[in-house]
Symmetry: D2
Subunit: 295 residues, 4 copies
């Protein structure tokens, strides 16, 4: 008989992850703010819950994939939160993109309750989640990492261990998202420079994406930026801005100036200020660069 | 019998290029400011010249690979310059990293003299030049490009045609160098953030370099930055600063603000101001980030 | 018989303000974290209290002048906080430099308790406070402002009313501190530019301070910056950084990019990162500019 | 009998200066690119010239007030330029806002010709020029400064001597214009922050302009910025951008990063890119800040 897992958060990322768990034979106790979304998972192996606490009851593992620090904190420590029911020795696998400070704070609360918290943020778009191709970054104590490993292995193409400090994996996630945003900004500046000088943005993008910058980020985002292809909306500018804020905040708590973080933070803040918060973040960045260039 | 080519400039890049031409059977009329460097090419097929004009006399092609706009302009239009002797219908293949404005200006002078100017800047380090692995970006009129093609084909792994506007390839070269600098800055910020949070810079660099950022720039420079390995000096900070100035200048003439250009320009200007001009540009960028972070 | 006022916070600013109130005949119930500091006020008219709650008991007015949002929040809402004892209809005059969000939040709590909160941050250094030369910015409801007016009038040279939105005066205070920091940065850049070009920093500073920029900020800070006179420490770099963070945070919640805020924020963050947090903020800014210039 | 002075350049600043010289009894040999503008000076004491050379012939002093380095260089060294006719021992009083490098270069050419070059850039708007209220910054050799003094004294309220290095006064002029632009940017950010938080921009501006920032720059520009009063066009954004470029260039040749110069440079470059080059620079800056804020 397969394990039952608590699962909280059926957003763009949570849904394909939950489906993969079901396909692998796990049973899920699922909570989502909009309860009707749970129906998308089908009824096979799914128990619908009315709160995070209900989803976390009587299981060895609960997975959360939520939008930000506040929602995660509320879902964990609030009235109907995970910690209300989580058994001693159970593990909370926390996959959301949050600050390391929140991770450390929650880890401490779990420890006090006798349970464990595992930071496990991921890289990859929803398609990658569906294809079990996520890169899963983890950090925390050895025993917790070992226990959670079989579950993580069935969700991604690699699980990378960033040590025993709880928030370590969160730092890596924030650093990576920063690098993605900085790459978008860099490409938008370079390709708009090319455009302003009479060159073909697409040709320039293809050249770099197939030579010095032959990496997924530069190929996939590069194509969208070069073509100014801003539909469909995959990841919203306002969520990108949230991540830029996490990076900025981390530069403050880490006591180090990060001028490139400033640039992407301001780019996305401007997008939000101009009312482009609901656009794809590729548009938020690329249109901002074009706009300032008078295009 | 093989063609004789004029060749001007035996720096880190010019020397391996000249050697490859000799190996391919071309004869070279060579000029270099420090004449003794010409001896490194051996005597087989080499004619030592006292001026660019002498090197450009009686040939169909002259190649120049020089340090900056000023040196190229002087070597072309000065008293002993290429234009003093270049035959009508001959082609000047200009491989230096210079501004598109200088390229346009020189192209006009060649045209007036009945000869042709071909912008042909390259991407690749000296090792790539030696291995005939350069990416050669060209722009200019069709006939000139066709004529020069056989020579270029024996120097690089690809020749990419960026259209008929003379300075087009120079814009691509400047944009590319900007993207390299911006990538270095981005990595230095991200890996120092990781370090400040107790993570292993090298592990973080290897993770990104093998996943989302699996491209040569992020692998090669990433390794140097993560390890703070600043020796040997490949490309000097002061030359990197020269390239940052070219990018900044181009953002001005193109009338577009480029905040990321500002960041890398200031980073390298700071390096020069602090007396680090002779260090490798990896050090100029990475040490600057560490320094500001109090490390 | 004169009114008794609760008074909380005997820092650089609070102490001269408290002394002026005593000199004007008010009785004070005083609390300070380091209790011994209360002795500096003398015993005449002073009641020493063990908590903010004790200081706020049985009075019509309580004044707080504290270091930051967190300390004010704790002193107001904590176990021994002001709200534990503050009478209905009494007024809390809050002079600290804090975010408008905290002001709004505290105002609501006072309202719920039947008392009033008045935002009353001030401009002026400790000497100005001692000389009753402060500029006091206020915002809040009319009745509260009218009630507090006699007390405020005896502390400053002007009381400026910025309307009825609680946090309004806090926005003005943050904007003003930002303008001071930006002026310091601007002067440090300009005078260092002069120095690097062989001019006399002091002469240049005196010229601008007596002509186009003939205002206190440019004269007083200008003299310190031009002379690189960093002693004695008046206002610490780490406190300046706190204010820069308030400005940055406000640019976020106001949804507007403020590039000059970025500059001063990074300047002071760098000072803190380099271990200069305890220096005067003039040093934090000016030495940072010199340092980057290789001086 | 009064001296005859050569005068070149009847722009917004040159015209009132020329009128004052005439009113003081000097005779003028005047050249202006648009010759018809010379008629505005009346015929009394005015000789109309066809070239700078003609204006500079047979006089002890020639004054130039031109738009930029290129125009001054052409007017001085070109075919019909000043140096073609300027007598040995005569003095060229150069009042334009130009780079110190151009000043040094021209000073050398004058010296070779036996004449002298005096850097004498000014602070003040056209109204100040008309009222003889300019601040005139000078630098150069003692004898030249002494000789020119009587003329300068009748044009401004003060002549400030910045030493014997030719370009010194030009550095001060560029530093001052930078400080003006930075002040405009700072005010636009602060007052827009106030606006976004429901405050009255004008009240906030008046408060700062009458207290901490009670200086002409903050009062005059502050009023325009607070009221978003962008008409009439006094000084064009594209000319402001030219000055920002001078400041940026000087930061490069001085080898020092100046982040605030970056900010104002980008602000005005954006204005030019967006097609606002002909607007007043108050609009170029202030509208840019509002625009990014989504207002």
């Amino acid at each position: 008989m397969k394990t039952t897992i608590g699962f909280i958060g059926l957003g763009n990322m949570g849904t394909p992850i939950a489906k993969n768990l079901l396909a692998s034979g796990y049973h899920l106790q699922v909570y989502n703010r909009t309860l009707s979304k749970i129906d998308e998972l089908g009824s096979e192996g799914v128990t619908k819950c009315q709160s995070p606490a209900e989803a976390a009851a009587s299981v060895q593992f609960v997975i959360s994939m939520l939008s930000d620090d506040e929602v995660l904190r509320e879902s964990t420590t609030g009235d109907g939160g995970i910690l209300k029911t989580l058994q001693p020795n159970a593990v909370h696998i926390s996959m959301s993109t949050i600050s390391p400070d929140t991770a450390e704070e929650l880890a401490k609360l779990h420890q006090q309750a006798g349970s464990s918290y595992l930071a496990a943020p991921v890289f990859g778009r929803p398609e990658a989640a569906a294809a079990r191709k996520l890169w899963i970054c983890i950090s925390g104590d050895e025993k917790t990492k070992t226990n959670a490993r079989p579950i993580l292995d069935c969700l991604g193409q690699a699980v990378i261990d960033f040590g025993d400090k709880t928030g370590g994996a969160n730092v890596v996630k924030i650093a990576g998202n920063f690098m993605i945003m900085a790459s978008m900004e860099m490409m938008a500046e370079a390709y708009t420079l090319a455009e302003k000088n009479g060159l073909d943005r697409v040709q320039v993008s293809e050249f770099f994406g197939s030579t010095l910058f032959a990496a997924p980020i530069f190929q996939n985002y590069g194509k969208l930026i070069a073509n100014k292809q801003y539909q469909p909306v995959g990841f919203k500018s306002k969520l990108g801005y949230k991540d830029a804020r996490l990076a900025f905040k981390l530069s403050q708590t880490s006591e180090m100036p990060m001028p490139t973080v400033n640039t992407v933070h301001n780019r996305l803040l401007t997008a939000v200020a101009k009312g482009w918060g609901e656009t794809d973040w590729v548009e938020g960045v690329s249109r901002g660069v074009s706009d300032d260039a008078g295009l």
